[in-house]
């Protein structure tokens, strides 16, 4: 059963359609990337999911309930929406203690999560003096405070240095390995491609892809084959339903098909394979193709 479920979600701000009949699911035990360019409706969807905004129509639930109906939400859902939700005069520890006090969490958790995100030394410092990366870490600390099973992060890599990015990638993977639901938004696929298992891609408020990263990677891959009779291999692959291109008299390229499928088709036709290599296209190019296709349709 999915832990996050969005069904026919539409949000209209006056004439602007922020999300348009959006439906998708997010499973536990995986890191799911929520992708789309700026303004594609990611943050609006997250705000509705978290009860911060009301949908025009449709539903967004966590464990089958609207966020507002969740008992003890901090222990179920950890959220890091942005790095700018702190009083600048309050210290990092004080900020977390306010949340811990309001929700009845033990204050020792404050020290634990500050240690977990590497902010123990800055616990007593005013947040106003924090760098963007430190604020991101404090946001994550707030999300982890209740040790929840569902974690929702909006652009968590913004402002982090390379060490921070590597650290958070490891953190996201370890959280998913503990069978938690990890839902991470980003406007760059390459930014999260080393971390996510599944992807939900939005463009102009519409769903353009809901798949696994490996399936998405397969869509981008090109298998180049050198053989003795490229024209014949072209016909064989085309008749097998594989998208194929004749490069020259000895080489063809198959798209959106595995090397195994192409190799077996060639062997079945008795064609010797002299060379076979898979070339992955730039994931970001595919991502832009996906979102721009939808933009062209919308235009």
């Amino acid at each position: 059963m999915s832990t996050i479920s969005v069904r026919n979600l539409t949000k209209r701000y006056g004439p602007v359609l922020a999300t348009d009949d959006l439906s998708f699911d997010v499973q536990p035990g995986k890191v799911t990337g929520f992708l789309g360019p700026n303004g594609s409706g990611k943050t609006t969807t997250l705000r509705i999911l978290l009860g911060l905004a009301a949908p025009t129509s449709g539903t967004a639930t966590i464990d089958g309930r609207a966020y507002r109906q969740l008992p003890d939400p901090v222990r179920r859902v950890g959220v890091a929406l942005d790095s700018n939700t702190f009083h600048p005069g309050r210290s990092a520890a004080q900020h977390l203690r306010v949340i811990a006090t309001a929700t009845g969490l033990p204050h020792r958790r404050v020290d634990e999560v500050l240690g977990l995100v590497g902010l123990s030394d800055a616990a007593g410092r005013s947040v106003g003096g924090f760098s963007l990366g430190m604020r991101q870490r404090l946001s994550l600390a707030g999300a982890l405070l209740g040790d929840p099973g569902v974690l929702i992060f909006d652009e968590p890599l913004n402002g982090l240095d390379p060490d921070g990015i590597r650290w958070i990638r490891g953190l996201l993977r370890s959280l998913a390995a503990e069978n938690r639901t990890v839902f991470v938004s980003s406007h760059l696929l390459t930014e999260v491609s080393q971390t996510v298992d599944d992807v939900v891609v939005l463009s102009r408020g519409r769903l353009v892809a809901e798949t696994t990263l490996s399936e998405l990677t397969e869509r981008t891959s090109v298998v180049r084959v050198r053989t003795t009779d490229a024209s014949r291999l072209f016909d064989v692959l085309a008749s097998a339903g594989i998208q194929v291109r004749l490069v020259d008299g000895s080489t063809v390229e198959g798209r959106h098909a595995s090397a195994e499928a192409i190799g077996l088709a060639a062997a079945g036709a008795g064609l010797p394979i002299l060379e076979l290599s898979r070339q992955d296209e730039d994931l970001e190019s595919l991502f832009f193709d996906l979102v721009h296709q939808n933009q062209e349709i919308a235009a």
Binding site: G51, V74, D82, T85, G89, I99
Partner: protein
């Protein structure tokens, strides 16, 4: 009930972990004590009532407006600051019941107003008693209790009005400028000249009625003034809660 108490403790923690509260309380107390001492110093001079008379002692204790203005500002900061610094987001994520958050904030800030009104009047009264004693005067006028209660009630009401203004405007600077301009300029100068007699029914006029000695001319009697000021606070809170609770948070 347990959840409400936790929220109340969290609200207190918010208030006491920023500099606004201790700084404004310290300034207000210093101003109140200075007001008492200055009035004692000028008593009997330039037509002022002589030190030790009821009129002079009432004049020394006429600093309730300081508590009201401070609580108005703190109320605005407590509610408006949540939107300005966007701390309303983690607050609502921790407690999705916005009506409860709003009600607890009102109760905590109002309680703080009562405590502060009591403390500042107590300190001012103590200063007045010590000053009078130093001059061999050991007599206090009979209306001190009413002044004390009036200062506490007006502090509570202005704290609630501040929370309402902060929630309505979501802009602390704008709300503070608007509130101070209204209290010091619109009511005191413009309305007093344009529509004399109306100002006693307005919030500042009602607060002056509450914090003035018994029988003060031009203002409502303390009981009526208290009811008028409470009505303003409750109406503004009702409007603020209605517009705040259901609104999308950006």
């Amino acid at each position: 009930m347990k959840g409400t108490l936790r929220l109340a403790r969290a609200e207190l923690r918010k208030l006491f972990t920023t500099k606004a509260l201790p700084v404004s309380f310290a300034i207000a107390i210093a101003l109140a004590i200075a007001s008492v001492l200055i009035n004692a110093t000028v008593a009997g001079k330039s037509g002022s009532p002589r030190l030790g008379t009821d009129a002079s002692t009432y004049q020394m204790l006429k600093f309730g407006a300081i508590a009201c203005v401070v609580m108005l500002i703190l109320g605005i900061l407590a509610a408006g600051g949540e939107f300005r610094h966007r701390t309303i987001i983690p607050a609502v994520l921790a407690t999705p019941h916005r009506a409860r958050i709003f009600a607890v904030k009102v109760a905590v800030v109002a309680g703080l107003g009562a405590a502060f009104g009591a403390v500042i009047f107590g300190l001012g009264l103590g200063t007045a008693v010590l000053t009078l004693s130093a001059h061999g005067i050991h007599h206090l006028p009979p209306g001190i209790g009413s002044l004390y209660a009036g200062t506490v009630i007006s502090s509570v009401c202005f704290a609630m009005i501040g929370v309402a203004l902060g929630a309505l405007t979501r802009n602390t600077i704008g709300a503070i400028v608007l509130a101070i301009a209204w209290v010091l300029f619109v009511e005191q100068v413009i309305l007093q000249n344009i529509a004399p007699g109306v100002e006693k029914w307005l919030p500042t006029g009602a607060a002056i009625g509450l914090t003035s000695p018994p029988g003060a001319a031009h203002f409502l009697a303390p009981l009526a003034a208290g009811l008028v000021l409470t009505a303003y606070a409750l109406v503004m809170l009702a409007v603020a809660s209605r517009t705040t609770i259901g609104r999308d948070l950006a």
